[in-house]
Amino acid sequence: MHSSKTTTPPSALWSRDTLTRVPFTVYDDPSVYQTEQERLFHGPTWNYLCLEADISETGSYLTTFVGETPVVVVRDDDGEIYAFENRCSHRGALIALEKSGKADNFQCVYHAWSYNRQGELTGIAFENGVKGKGGMPASFDKSAHNPRPLRIAVYCGLVFGSFSEDVPSIEEYLGDEICERIERVLHKPVEVIGRFTQALPNNWKLYFENVKDSYHASLLHLFFTTFELNRLSQRGGVIIDESGGHHVSYSMIDREAEKDASYKEQGLRSDTENYRLKDPTLLAGFEEYDDGVTLQILSVFPGFVLQQIQNCLAIRQVLPRGTGRTELNWTYIGYTDDTPEQRETRLKQSNLIGPAGFISMEDGAVGGFVQRGIAGARELEAIVEMGGDSAESSEGRATEASIRGFWKAYRQYMSA
């Protein structure tokens, strides 16, 4: 889906054919931003729209965005989910103004053009004129003037949409390893326990890179280290899909090492009595997955994150809002069959995440530090070379392979 509006050939941004350098200009150039809207968000990608649980009843709808394009997502009485651009075919006004609701159909407030739940233009006010005067010409074909529809894919209760006809199936898009890791968390029905939006003072890519950056975690986020909450007997790694665009980073209990380390660990902890949590129930959790994985951060290109930090589960939707602004929508979830105790645990652990999260508040600010830092450095580049130059799955955290994976996919879409 190319457009002739593109002004900067994206390939020209990169001076060298390496994934280890990122030109700073990609974070603030309006023409790059415009090209992203066309080639990524309107291109053959799957964009997270909502949870199936958000629109569980016939006629339930919500409004969200694909890139910066407003869309309506709605469940029709055939039980299927439909999505279409939230833009009246007539003059371009928003069709639906509310964040969510229930509707039999949609009517633009401006001139009362109406649409059914599948996004088809069904009615034009005064179509035949008033008293034989005015009205639309008989040749006007309503069915040729629907707002642009999206293809929909539902996977594990997640609703994705795409403006592209060429996008592969969601399973193919994600690949087996990512599918497995999504299913691991979303293997049974979930319900929303809170929604929060964080306005980030930076380009959307800086946040998405941050999500994929396993290198920064223990350096920027000191909560676990300060309170001696890290487990020595952990191992982890990153999984990167073939496209490079999706990733999983994880930590898990190393059962063997735990046997050896637990003694030492205890000794270490008691040495730092001052920095123990006064109320350790904040992190008191329960084991709900039998694989020992205590942390799993999963991203799907171009703007979806699924997070399991112990028992704290959340979905994050990353939406661009101009070159230097991003909206991060947090949806905190639990399982519908949570016991009251399990739910309370999730609520307490949610102190770790979100705009005030003990281990995530820094992420809200650090993108802005970059955005401000690069203000006079458009011709220069960022270095993304930890762990070499490849974008492949690896063990350990001292690598920027997932970030290189992002740029691999990004460059592919932008130059396609």
Binding site: L277, D279, T281, A356, F358, M361, E362, A365
Partner: protein, 154 residues
């Protein structure tokens, strides 16, 4: 003092504690077992229980301050609270419930000042030894959006 004056005095001291960076004092406004939460009006309307800050003990509030002092990294900034007149919704010998509007400006070290949050405190105060303490304070923000991050408490 009347209930109303007591609540006003309480809130004035509460605001001053946060705005003058005496954060270690902040947990002492709460009972040992308490509920403190920061959320917004839409979650509240839908009955969604989560908060961006969620505490059910004074110790948890103390931990939040320790984390801010020792662990979390954020640009230096301060708040200015303007706390309005409490609307007392229930009052007995033991407890007072009130809804009180607030506005909080955030002043960054760069000089940038902006309206950071508006909302209302949904409070339950208990009287112990002639003194009021919060057994519950839910800061319900009017906006669903938090700019950049929330470090200092509301």
């Amino acid at each position: 003092m009347t209930d109303l004056m007591q609540l006003c005095a309480f809130n004035a001291a509460y605001a001053n504690t946060i705005d003058s960076d005496a954060l270690e004092i902040w947990p002492t406004y709460f009972t040992e077992i308490c509920h403190y939460r920061v959320t917004h009006i839409e979650n509240e309307r839908e009955g969604l229980a989560a908060g961006i800050v969620y505490a059910n003990s004074r110790a948890m509030l103390e931990d939040r301050i320790s984390a801010l002092r020792e662990a979390n990294i954020y640009e230096r900034h301060s708040y200015r609270h303007m706390i309005g007149m409490p609307l007392i919704t229930a009052s007995s010998d033991d407890a007072i419930e009130a809804s009180t509007p607030f506005m909080v400006a955030r002043i960054m070290h760069t000089g940038q000042t902006e309206l950071f949050a508006t909302g209302s405190y949904q409070d339950k105060f208990v009287r112990t030894d002639g003194k009021l303490l919060l057994s519950r304070r839910v800061a319900v923000c009017d906006s669903t959006v938090t700019d950049t991050l929330l470090a200092l408490p509301l």
